[in-house]
Structures are given as structure tokens and as C-alpha cells.
Amino acid sequence: MRRRQRPARASRGLPPGASEEKDPRYPPVVSCTLSNGLRLLVLEKKFVPTASFTIVFNVGNVDNPQGKTGLAHMFEHMAFKGTRTINSAGYAREKPALDRVEAAALALARAERSPRPDPARLEKLRAALASAQRRADALSVKDEYLKIYNALGENGLNAMTSTDYTGYVVSLPADRLEAWMAIESDRFKNPVLREFYREREVVAEERLMSDSDPNRLLWDVLMANAFTAHPYRNPTLGWPDDLAGLSRSDAEEFYRTYYVPNNAALSVVGDARPAEVVRLAEKYFGGWRPGELPSRCYTEEPEQRSEKLVNLFFKASPALRIGFHNPGMAHPDIYPLIMAGEVLSGGKTGRFYRRLVEGRQLALYAGAWAAAPGSRYPSLFAVAADPKAPHTLEELDAAVMDEITGLASEPPTRWELEKVINNYETELIRQLESNPGLGMSLAQNEAVMGDWRFDWKIGDGLRRVKPEDVSAAAARYLVRPNRTAVFLREPPEKGAA
């Protein structure tokens, strides 16, 4: 890959502590860490006068307290509800009203979860909560945060919660740089979690949407069954009972613990001068106080010793999902496993397509990924495949397993490995075309994996993989005692055994 053109002035005028990446293997990202621990990444790119802004916090669904799954995602929704000055008609008056909402909600939750709830009392408490909410609503400015971005010309204003991290993204015309700094620093320094309980209903609808889609349901069921102890088993939207019990107080506690500058990375990619970004970040984010982060040692997933086969009954076409525990991104065996996934499922020359879709014609498609659902902890080497009628799930499963175990007896050819490397390297170049995509990659890798260069370094690891390494990794990890398979089938006829 050739060295990209870099603007000569990118590094000019950078404040002390900020530096531009000079190694030609990487893009010329300017990085710096503020004194409160917030990491900044800037890549100047010109064509249109726009920039993509991303903040990633190293906190996700794995970090929820026991009994509060879905909390990380719930907070993400609340981060669109404004601050003490945005969405508020006057916080001094609004705060006591919000406190009364919280007191009413907690009283209702206690009553709902008592051993023998009294329906009449519940009705009264619900009415009290609704009334408190109405009074608080009257003191807020509805959706002001969203309206500000709407008028600024936002593109792709969004947020995402994964198992590992929570990311907040927006693209704006480039001259909105300072506006973004002002709004987002306020957003994360002074959030007010108003409208919490109505938003919890919105998330409950998001959960229903997910449960209506067989593909999402399959992944949830695979994770819940493959992991027995590690929190990767929990759905990001939360278990329904946990979600129904989340309170604003829970979300505030979660915010105080994890939404600190030393747990975040911020990236700006596009038409923005790095020195200006660093100067404004100092001005707006500099006063944000760091915090002490808790240990993130969660129950290590014990070794799986027996194959798990799960039937998911759902009214949809048959589908198969398989997961094998992997050793995690920090383990050297991850590279041959990534390679294995690509050799199996990379394009029409991948083994799955050549042999299962085309050769034996029993799959509509089949794909493999080395690490799902996350990267912070050991996760799953995952396979997804759908059978093509009249072939059955059993035939498909047997054929998929033949190909996977076949990696041990039939190591990848040099051609297969070179193809994977070529595609990976091209992907790294093409990643630079999209400002929001690159912004997310930089911030996420910095916040979660500790280095924005992570994707490029994976490439280095892949180049060292030898055919026999892939065979050895397949023989070690992609084996039946280490696997969970979920079969989506039509529900059995009523009355059938």
C-alpha cells in the first residue's frame, strides 16, 4: 500500500502533547490525551466541508450490574434527553419535579415487586407517577437537543450500545466544530435523565422489534446458551424483567461510574484542522473531572465440555447458528481463527460457497466470524447458515461441520491465505473513504482495544499465519465439545410429541 497524501500543515501548530503519526503503514492521525485522560484522534480529510464526530466510552452491556442487564443501552437512550440547560425550561424548578417522578417510580417498583401486590394500590401509584411525569414535562423543552442538531444539518446522529462499548456519532458541516464541542461536552458533563420511564417503554418496544426478527432472536439465543457464566450471555437490550425494573437512579449511578473522560476516546475525521480540534477539546472537555474506574474482571467463562444443541421454535424459515468459544483477541491463536473464518466464508471462492452453496447446493448462504459478540473478553467463533429447501438443518449442520473439521486435514493453500491478506489490506484502504466509518473505528479501537491502530496490527498478525496454524487452531477450538448450535425450526404441530 502506498503512502497516502498527507496535508503538510496537519502537524503545524500542534500544541505540546499532540503528535502526528509518521509511520507510513498508518494514516497520519493526530493524537493526544488531555490531562483528564480523554483521548483525542483527528484525521484531516478534504473534499466536502464536513466532519464526522465520534465519542466512544469503554462501557457496554458486559458492565451492567447483576440484575440490571440493559442498563448500558438504557443510558445510551437517555443521553439524547438533554442537560441542565438543554431540554430544560429552568433546571432549578425542574429538578425537584424530576425528583418527585423518581420517588413515585421507586414506590411503584417496590409495590410491583412485593410478594403480593395489591392491584388497587398499584393503580394509585401508577396514577401518581403519571401525574408527577406530567408536571415535570411542563418544565422541560421537548426534544431540544434533537432540534438543535436537526437545524445544524446533522447527518447520521445516532448512538450504539454493544457488549463492549457505547458510541455516539454525528456528522456535521465542518464549521459546526465548536458547536459540537459545546453541545457534546455539556451532554456528558451535565446530563439530566428526564423522561426516563417513558423512554423505558420505547426500549421495551425495541425489544419487541428484536424478538419479532428471527435473525436477531437467533443471535440472542446463541449467546444465552453458549455462555453460562460470562456476561456476554446477556442481551444488549436487557432481559425483560431487568429492563422493566431499571430506574433513573440506576442509570445515574452507572453514568457516574463509567462516563468519565479517562474512559473515553473522541475522534474527528474530515475537514477539521487538528490544532483547532485539540484547542477546542481542551476548552470544552478539559474541565471534565476524571474518575476511578472499577475492575472489569467478570466471571471467566468456564471451559465448555459438552456440545450444546438448542431448538428455537419460531414461525420462520429454518436457520442455523453455531458458536465455538475462542481464546480472545489477546491470544495469538486468534489470528489463525480469523484466517479460518475468511478461508471458509470469504466470497464465492470461499469453501462454504464453493462446496455448500454451489457444490452440494444445500445452503442459501453460510458465513463465519472469528469473534462475536465482542472483543474485550474471549467470545465465539460464530457461523451462520440457512438451508436451501428441500435440504434440512441436519444436512446443513453436518456439511458445515465437515468443512470446519476439514480445515485440519486440508490446510489452506497459499492462494487462499494470500487472498485473505489482499482483501484485508484493501479493506484498510477503503475504510479511509468513509469519514463516519473511520471515525468509529479509530475511537472504538482506542477506547476498547487501547490503540487506534488495532485494525492495522491485526493485519500484521494475519500475515504471519501459516497454513498449519489454521489447521491446528481448527483442531483445537472448532470441535464439538466446544460448540453450541441453535436450530431455528417451525413450532411443532399442537398435539405432536
Binding site: Y149, D175, A182, V202, E205, M209, T349, N423
Partner: protein
């Protein structure tokens, strides 16, 4: 909002971006090319618009065009066997694609600069001399048949597709869907004839951007690559006029799923109707974003939905405005009432000046995001030429949106967003609904498969 933030926002100008034109040329065989050199990265992108589409299928061969377009890529060419194409392209990490949209055929290519000559040769052969290898044809047919079997697995997608089918009628090309019988009927001769009719150089507009040396050199390469491609003779079927009855129609598909889907459809505009600008502002206000009325009311205020939005689509004949809401079966009645109420409000009184300005600004300030890269810009230029817009359409867009007044939005609401003429389709379990659908109009039950 705090004072510092307010001052900052007040001082910001409207985003002003004049997209570069690129270069337009016509090859000797009639193929139109839009070109822009961009050496930022060692990559070249091409995309071709081919004047055809799913609406051109013969009525007894629905799916013919889709199958043909897909097999250009998968079925090999005169000079490259399919396996050889796949191996070359995938080893070089080049992506080549061909597919059919409702009103357009598309073929595209992304390749590293160093591999452009080799891959361009495959690309041009694919467009000019496809081979439709029999075993690849049967494989593609089996894939499309499996997709027909799976088409109702996602209830939200099923709802939108079936709503459009009921709206335009299953006999009109805008309401068509491929079926087992129509796909099974497609022959190799059908595909060859389809290809020969539509894939002709004077029926194609190509956009190319990237690090291809010089524009002159690229044009010479395209002349050479597409030499011998004969122009002329394309025959396109006429589309029967769209006939949409006035008045409310309600359709229901019985399905026991955790979340019900509501789709609301209204007659909108023919392409090139100048009312698209007030309708764009009205739609932005109604359901275009997170702060729109539908989202603010149904999601934020009532907590009834995660996903609720609206958009509109222009077509040669009447297009449509579509609103979608996913909600639990027990709230369908409440959510649907609120959707209809919000449509009704759009035609009752002119929106506040502030809300109109915000909707206009949202469209104007985000305009620039249509062209994040030179290739995206050229694709837009080619797209507008393909759909017959004036050459200045893109350049005038901002001015046209800026001229929309609250009264214009009200007129658009009165003419185009009348809930009394809305067609409604619900996919969900009728036994769990909070209100019977018959309260919203005469209900037609549709089969769920």
C-alpha cells in the same frame, strides 16, 4: 440552552457547498460518462446506470430482469469463465456487482488502481458479452426461489412490501413481486433477449471516479474497453397508468408476532413535479428525523414505538408517501390514531415559522452529505441525468428548499397528506389489538404467505 451555546448556534451560517461538476463525455458508441479524477486513495470506482428495471419484466416472467442482472456477474462471459472471474476478482480484492432496481439496472466496480486494466476488461465483458452458464443459471434460480420462500420471515419487511402491493394493486408493475411460477418460467433465451434489448451503450450512463491517472487516459480506456458494443434498438414496455381509489382502505395480515407493523400509504408525486420541495419540507417535519412530529409524539411522548418514521418516493407515475410504525399489538389502535391525527394536522393549519425553518435548514444543511466522496458526487450527477432532471437540479436544490414557506407546507399537507385517502396495512395478531381495525375503515384480510 445555555447562553454560550445559544450564541454559538446563532452565529452559524447556512452550510454553503457548490458541488463540483466533474466532466461529462459521450463515447463514440453513445455511452455517457461522468468522470472525476480523485487521487486521495489508490482506488477507482465505477457505476453504470442501465435504463431498465423490475418494472420492465413481462407480466408472466416477473423476476426475469433481476435474474438476468445477477447472472451478468455470476454466469460468466464469453471471455471469462465464471470461476475464473471469481478467482481473479476475489484474489485482487476487487468488487464487481450487477443488480436490478425497480427503475434501474446497476453495474459497478471498485478496484485498486494497480488492477484497473485487468478488472475493467472483466467489467466491460460482463456488460457486453454475458454467457449465462446453465449451471449458474439454475443455482441463481434456486437462490431466488429460496428467497421467495423466506420473504415473510421479517414481519416489518413483509408489511412494507405487501402494503405497496395492495396500494398499487398486484397487477400493476409497481406492486409486483416475483413468484415461484414466474421465476420457474424464465429461460436462458429470455435472459439473452432481455440483455440484448437493454444493455446497450446508448442506454447506459457511467460514473467513474478515483485515481485513474488522467481523465483523457480513462476515456481512452473506456473507448477501447467498450469498443464493438452496438447502440440502438432498445424497446421498453409502457407502464399502465396508476389508478388509486380515493377514500380509506385497510388491509390486515394475521400473524402472531411480538410486535405488530403498521404501514400507511398515500398517493404522492410524479417525478419532476415542483411540489416535491414543499412535500420534502412537510415530510421532514412530519416523520423525517428524530425530532419530527411522528417521532416526538408516538415515540417520545407516548412511548408506543421505537421505530416510527415517514418518507416519500417519486415515480414516473404517482409515487407514494409511506409512514411506518412498529408497536406492540395492544397499542396498534392508539398508535394508528396518532399517526392519522398527525397527517391530518399537516393539512389543518400552517406550521409555525420556526418549525418550517428548522425543517428547511435540516434539508439544506445536510445536503452536502449526499456527496461524501467524489465518487458519490458523480453517482448523484449520473443518477439525476438518468432520471431526467434538469442539469442544474442539484445546484438549484438548496434554493428551491429555501423558498418553501409555511403556507406551501400547508398546501402540500392539504393536497398530499390527507388521512381520509390513506391506505393502511397492519401485520399482527388481530386477537391482541386494542381496537378492531374496522374502526379505521373497511378491512380486507390478506393471506400471510
Amino acid at each position: 440552552m445555555n447562553a454560550r451555546c445559544a450564541r454559538l448556534l446563532a452565529s452559524l451560517p447556512e452550510a454553503d457547498f457548490r458541488p463540483p461538476r466533474g466532466r461529462r463525455a459521450v463515447l463514440s458508441n453513445g455511452l455517457t460518462v461522468h468522470l472525476l479524477k480523485d487521487a486521495t486513495l489508490p482506488v477507482v470506482h465505477l457505476t453504470a446506470f442501465v435504463r431498465t428495471g423490475k418494472i420492465c419484466d413481462p407480466a408472466d416472467r416477473i423476476g426475469l430482469g433481476e435474474m438476468t442482472a445477477a447472472l451478468l456477474k455470476d454466469g460468466g462471459t464469453l471471455n471469462y469463465k465464471a470461476e475464473e472471474m471469481d478467482r481473479t476478482l476475489e484474489y485482487l480484492a476487487a468488487s464487481l456487482e450487477s443488480y436490478l432496481g425497480i427503475e434501474e439496472g446497476r453495474a459497478g466496480l471498485t478496484v485498486l488502481k494497480k488492477d484497473l486494466p485487468a478488472v475493467l476488461s472483466i467489467f466491460s465483458d460482463m456488460l457486453m458479452r454475458p454467457a449465462f452458464a446453465p449451471e449458474k443459471t439454475e443455482l441463481k434460480r434456486a437462490e431466488l426461489l429460496e428467497l421467495v420462500r423466506r420473504r415473510n420471515d421479517d414481519p416489518a419487511r413483509q408489511a412494507v412490501r405487501e402494503a405497496l402491493r395492495s396500494f398499487y394493486g398486484p397487477a400493476h408493475p409497481y406492486g409486483w413481486r416475483a413468484e415461484e411460477a414466474s421465476l420457474s418460467a424464465v429461460t436462458a433465451d429470455d435472459m439473452k433477449a432481455w440483455h440484448a434489448n437493454y444493455y446497450r451503450p446508448d442506454n447506459v450512463i457511467l460514473a467513474a471516479a478515483g485515481d485513474f491517472g488522467s481523465e483523457e487516459g480513462m476515456l481512452r480506456g473506456l473507448e477501447a474497453g467498450f469498443a464493438g458494443w452496438k447502440p440502438g434498438g432498445t424497446v421498453s414496455p409502457g407502464i399502465p397508468p396508476v389508478e388509486l381509489p380515493a377514500g380509506r382502505r385497510v388491509f390486515h395480515i394475521q400473524k402472531d408476532v411480538p410486535q405488530a407493523s403498521i404501514v400507511l400509504l398515500l398517493k404522492a408525486l410524479k417525478r419532476h413535479d415542483p411540489r416535491e420541495f414543499p412535500l420534502a419540507v412537510a415530510n421532514e417535519m412530519l416523520g423525517g428525523g428524530l425530532s419530527s412530529r411522528l417521532t416526538a409524539e408516538i415515540r417520545s411522548r407516548l412511548g408506543l414505538a421505537y421505530s416510527v418514521y415517514s418518507y416519500f418516493v417519486k415515480k414516473p407515475d404517482y409515487g407514494y408517501t409511506l409512514a411506518y410504525c412498529g408497536t406492540s399489538p395492544g397499542s396498534v389502535g392508539r398508535a394508528l390514531s396518532e399517526m392519522l391525527r398527525q397527517f391530518s394536522l399537516m393539512g389543518e393549519k400552517a406550521p409555525p415559522a420556526e418549525e418550517t425553518a428548522r425543517a428547511r435548514n435540516a434539508l439544506i444543511n445536510s445536503f452536502v452529505f449526499r456527496f461524501p466522496t467524489p465518487f458519490d458526487l458523480l453517482t448523484e450527477r449520473a443518477n439525476y441525468e438518468y432520471y431526467g432532471y434538469a442539469p442544474s437540479y442539484l445546484d438549484d436544490y438548496v434554493r428551491n428548499i429555501a423558498g418553501v414557506s409555511p403556507e406551501d407546507v400547508l398546501s402540500a399537507g392539504r393536497e398530499l397528506l390527507r388521512p381520509d385517502d390513506a391506505m393502511v396495512l397492519v401485520v399482527g395478531d388481530a386477537r391482541k389489538l386494542d381496537r378492531p381495525l374496522s374502526e379505521f375503515g373497511p378491512v380486507t384480510e390478506l393471506p400471510g404467505d
